[in-house]
Amino acid sequence: MLSNIMSILLTVFTALVWGLLLGGISRTVTAKIHGRMGPRVTQNFIDVWKLFRKTSSIHHGGMFWLAPMFRITGAIAVLLMVPVVVGQNITYNMSFAGDVFLLLYIMFFGCLGMALGAGNSGHPYAVIAVSRGLAQMSSYELSFSVAVVAIAVGLHTFRIEGIVAAQQAGISSWNIFRFPFASAGALIAFLPMQMAYPFGIVLAPQEIPIGPPTEYSSRFLSLMFSGRALFSVAKLLFFVNLLFGGASSWLSLLLKTFLLYMYTVVVSSVFPRFRTEQSIKFLWLVPTTLALVDLVRVML
Amino acid sequence: MSAEYLFYWSMAATGLGLVLIGLWGVLTRKHILRIALAFTLADTGVNLILVWSGFLPNRAAPIIDSSVTTVVDPLPQALVLTSIVIGVAVAALFVVVGVLASRKSGSADIRHMKELRW
């Protein structure tokens, strides 16, 4: 029991640190691609700390107040539902309590809270961004769920441990090789999930100031940043478990998540942005079709 | 065929002919009074047939006095009386209504009384 709690705390802490660090790295890498020097890799820690220590802040009502907590809770819930290191049962945290369906749906917990907070802020731009984000989310979830279902049905299990366990027979048994089309679909869906360009319509600083968190300041924003870092690590972890055979040690975990993260960073820094309806159509068409190929294969 | 039978059948034929002429008139005439007339004609024909239905050859009219022993069936004649009375009443009503209706529509032509339809 105690070791379980320790493991959970360790997981959350590591994810937070790693998530912020990854954010910093991504900023640096993007800067390098632009031909700039870029910030320090620790810049995100500095930002979060600064925001946390701002001396005043405002709020617009109960839901606004609760939204960052929803966000962080959702992120941690997703994180704990995924096994961290394969083979070390202690790090499986809460993953016994649910399967991929639960994971797919609990991912919305944070998003919904965020959207509610944005709505409560009373700022029209925040709500416009939410409307775009929801529209886009409903599209990428289509291809993502097709991919997940294809993989899960192909492996005859919905349990994430089961999916990971099925990939332990060497690299060729990774799902990205066994289900290449579904994986491609899932990986394309991963970009809008991380709000990476070309699907970055939600946080559009130029037209709708920064999207949903327009009105968030200070400590709220700091929590939101932390939540986002945690959430992106949770998603990375899920993808590593889903497609890349899980991680057999902490090191390989860091490596795999890092590489996967770099994929979004590189893609997002070289592509321009889709308009919402373009992005919706693209997501309905390309990744869904790809994932459907594997689904049909599984069905036959 | 004796004259009685000839009379018997010609009575039926006349009645039927009157009915047919009346119906033809009803269906083809346009003036409302002509239609009334055609009805009266057909009514007369029907009355004839009704009388015919009680007709028995070589019998007298059912006006009972001592000399007459064999009369025709008296019932249809009684019926015909009723029928004629009713026919007159209906015809009168028809004409009244027809005249008033033609006053309302400004024409006695039945084709102009088509406000109510479909």
């Binding site: 409307s131 529209a135 009105e215 919706i280 309905w284 069905m299 | 009915v19 057909a42 009704l50 339809r117």
Partner: protein, 973 residues
Amino acid sequence: MVKALAVFLPLLGAFINAWLPGKHSKASRFVSYTVLTAGLAFVVLLSIQLGAWNLADLSNSVIFHSGVGSPPLSINLEITAGGTLAALAMYAAVIFSIHRFALHTPKSQPLILAMLTASLGLLFATDIFNSFVFLEIGSIATIGLTAASRCGSRWEAAIKVALVSGLVTILYLLAVAVLYRSTGMLTMAALGSLSGGAAVLVSILLLTVIVTELKAFPLAGWGLDFYQGASSNVAGLYSATWSLAVLMWAAKVLPLLPIGNPIIYAWIGAGGLVLSQLAGLRAGSAGRILGYSTSAYASLLLVAAGTTTGAFYTRTVLVLMVFSSLSKFSLFMLGNPWKNRGWSGYGTVLMLIPVLLLAGIPPLPVFWAKFAFLKHLALHFPVVFYAVLAGLFLEAVYLFRFWADRSEKISVKAFSKPSAVAGVFIILVAAIWITQLWWGQLDFSGSIIASSTLRNIFHALFAAGTLLCLPGVFKRIGSERNYWFWLLISGASLTLLPAAGNGITFYILWEISAFAAVVGVSKGTGARNGAFWYAVFASFSGYLLLAGILLSRGSFVMAGLPALLMTLAALVKLGQFGTHLWNVRTYPAAPGTMPAYLSGTASKAAVLLLVAVALNATGGALPWGRAMAWAGALTALAGAVLAALAPDYKKLLAYASVSQIGYILVGLGLASILGWTAALYHTVHHMIFKMALFLGAASVLYRTGTTRFNNLGGLVKKMPWTFAFTLIAVISFAGIPPLAGFGGKWLLYNGLVEAGWLPILIVAMFASVVAFLYSYRLLHGVFLGQLSPKNAHAKEAPLALLLPQGILAASIMVLGFKPTLLLNILVPALKAIPGLSGLAPVIQGDMVLTTMGTWNAWMVGIMVMVVFGIAFVFYWISGHKPKYVGQLDIGFAGEMPPSADEVHYSNNFFRPYTRALAFLPRIHAEKIFCGVSKTFSMLGDGVRMLFTGDGRTYLAHSLLFLVLLFVFLNGGM
């Protein structure tokens, strides 16, 4: 001899009245009332003497002669037991209506009394020639009354009646002549002794006369014109006396005609029924609509004459004709457009009762006769059965439209209150009286759902749903009227529904609950359209259900066509996509907590029906389960998309309801234990959250007076509790884990994967994601964003609305954290059903296991709560005190927002989504329905071209009918 007074008293009154000077209307009225009351008393005595009140045996009769000698010289009357009841109705109608004539055309009283005499005479006449006399008197009285009224087109109507009665006279007398010539007798019994050519001749002549006089379909033209042209008083009186008399007379004569095989009546009747009702769809004026309805009942009489015999025939015809004539009488009396009143007065109910009577809705008296009759048809004459059913449905459609269009024009004064009360009382008494005759057919053993667990679940569902709607019934706004009574009736019959043990019981409860709800809906503001759509779809689904029950030959449902029909009935009732139109129109229009009841509770009746059909027909797996699942999945998707784009709170919820119901269909279509568990779990859950949402909508409506998103927003500041409960319901139905909604989805997906129906799984999952769109739209559009100054006065919902929401929200929480409470009941019950395939989910403590997935709701819930709690506490104790700022204090490029309304984003909320969907062809279900209705309208237009309005055409119709009949019968022989 004294008994003949019942017939001739009115004649006496007529004579006296005719001699009275016209100015003394008081005196003449006194005479009329005296005469009528005395006559009525006689008739009552007679009916008691003949034992007519026990409908089981109507064969008693008294014969007496008036005048001298024996018939045909004397007028010969046979007072039958059934006839006394019809006479009772005639007397009642005249007494109810005579004061209106006294008001408007005092001189017409002799004519009224003459018409009554003629009607009574025709009712009791046993002699062909006597009948002729009464027919002529009736015609003359009709023409006279029509001409004496004050209607603009009275002359034209009168002339058409006169034309036709002229022709009828001719044909009738010809038949009399031939009859007398052949048999020498003129009694009706003599008809039977005809043979050979004379028989044919008399048959076709009399049949033409009867069909013309009945105004049955091909020869109905003059009657329609008459109903349209005559004043409503005259038409009403006519339909209650003369029309009824002709019907009863025809019912007497038809079986006696030596026509060979009487099935020909049925063909004429059935064909005429369908065609005339098609034409009736296009009828415009009130009189004409009711004329078509009369025509329908005439056709029904023909069908009855062709297919039934004996006491059954007599009883059926008597009940059908008497009550339909009375309803038409009251509709004519009510439909008088004198005063324009708002919709949803007493008038709506007053008018709905006769309409429901005509449509044969239980427990009103006509239903019983119709049910027995249709049952007979279904058993022996299936083709006629379908035709009759189709015709009756078409009739119901235009009657409901008539109701929706007309009833706002009713002035209650027009039908003075005592008489209205008396009328309702009579109908109630009749309903009770007739119901007790057939009471034995009802069965409340609940045997159609064998599993008592399922039955209890549904009992509890319906009872709880109704009870939770009740506290808020008095929180009405604006012109909404009291609807609690109808809600209660509907809810009570629903609660009984699972206890139904056979088809008729089920059907009766089903229809009572539906049509009580229709009345309830009609109490809303501007609910005309909604109530009309609900009525039409409810009756459509009712007729499908009826057909299914009747075709099942005694058992509740048989596999094959009956089961399919009943499935369709359930789908229509659920608002399966395509028929969702009624949900979307009805829910927003319904008053107060009514939509919560309709969507949350009443729609579950259809789920119950589906379960019952599946259990009884095949023991679980319906052959079209897969199609149903597809339909459900597509419904879920389409409903979700439409909900996301809806501009109105209640409309959004209506679409959401359509969408959520799709999941239930998918689950039931699966026909596996998992699928049914999912479906029933979702049924319970849907009832809970949808009621919470609609009660929330009712609260918002109550406090702000609007449900348009454009006028709402920011209400979280004013109605925090309502928001909290709505939020819980929304999170739950979006399927986000710690709350209850996820369970249904998880079970369903597992079931779908187990069955290998992956495409449906994908569609269902996609639909559930689209659900986020509208769930956010709902929360933001109403509660978040900027509070409009228009709603600044709003405050927290009243406790009567809030408390049920609180209970529902609490149960969502409980079900979310401990779904095993419900699953532990459901799973064993479903395991016991042999027809369900697949493996049952294994429940170990809080853990639910399927072959492929796991779900531990308790652990997930605890985890989320703990993390949330830690974050909350951390937040709280870290000394962070944000300042609450006003709603217009937003970073708005340095500007101050001009007003809250202008910065509230509400229009075109999911505009990008609409744009992305633009490539789809816009197939509106509405358009499909428009197409269907246009096709029917075209057909109807084609049919009604027959009735050109030229009086001679009608004569030609009759003659043509005669000729065709002659050719047909001779060809047949």
